[in-house]
Subunit: 126 residues, 2 copies
DNA sequence: GTAAACTATGAAGTATACTTTATAGCAAGA
DNA sequence: TCTTGCTATAAAGTATACTTCATAGTTTAC
């Protein structure tokens, strides 16, 4: 699969896909080169990039993703530790999301124009 | 309350608090100046900044927050529209989080070192 | 009253995640 | 064949969210 097809199927700019490769999160596993030097991706790249998109969308960095990729080279204990750490981060993010959502629902039910400020009367988890 | 106390209580650098003010998300409502020109914050600033932190942590931009603040000046219909839009964004983020979490749980249960790549065998929502 | 600590401003610097530009080779259809 | 379009690389540019620096006024503790 050539880069433009990947771009279309995963809905990312070509430049972004090349950038991910440069950053080391698209590896040989998903990518080889044709004789003309064009990139040729495996069909797995689509699912993989969807996971990458999900991770980036919820606040993981490219560096985080690199560390998850590199899990293959380290001990199972270390793997489990890193993965659990990431899951904890996700759960913290989920709490934040729920708080933000409740803040917004609160705004919907309040007469914002007259007396309430953004978030002014909301409770948040510290 | 002076800036250093706010910084300590909300656990943000002083520079960040001044930056938020510069970006227009800390308004007169929470801030006045003393005769010596020092910033003097109301106690409400703490709860407010916690909401700001939550929002930023889950992917909202400072610009998003500004638009939420400015809800006070616009019609209720427009307010409701913007708020519902933000809630939809949060719900999309929640889906992404759940996907990312399942990806990681999948990794925990797989023999990563031997055959599975990061995310390679996971399903994600398109 | 003076040194250390806190406050202020504006401007420049940094990190992350991309995007755009410039230049050039390769390919497919009329 | 020639033009249009896709591919390539390297380097510079952009946006967002801060942080650091340079400089200077203010306050507090001894």
């Amino acid at each position: 699969m050539k880069i433009s097809e990947v771009a279309k199927r995963i809905d990312l700019p070509i430049s972004t896909i090349r950038y991910y490769e440069k950053m080391g999160i698209i590896t040989e596993e998903y990518l080889l080169r044709e004789q003309n030097n064009y990139r040729n991706y495996t069909s797995d790249i689509i699912d993989y990039l969807q996971v990458v998109k999900n991770c980036l969308a919820v606040g993981f960095t490219i560096s985080d993703i690199k560390s998850m990729i590199s899990l293959k080279g380290i001990s199972k204990e270390e793997q489990a530790r890193i993965i659990k750490e990431k899951i904890a981060e996700i759960e913290a993010a989920q709490l934040n999301l729920e708080n933000a959502k409740q803040t917004l629902y609160g705004l919907l039910q309040t007469d914002i124009t007259c007396e309430s400020g953004f978030g002014k009367h909301d409770r948040t988890v510290s």
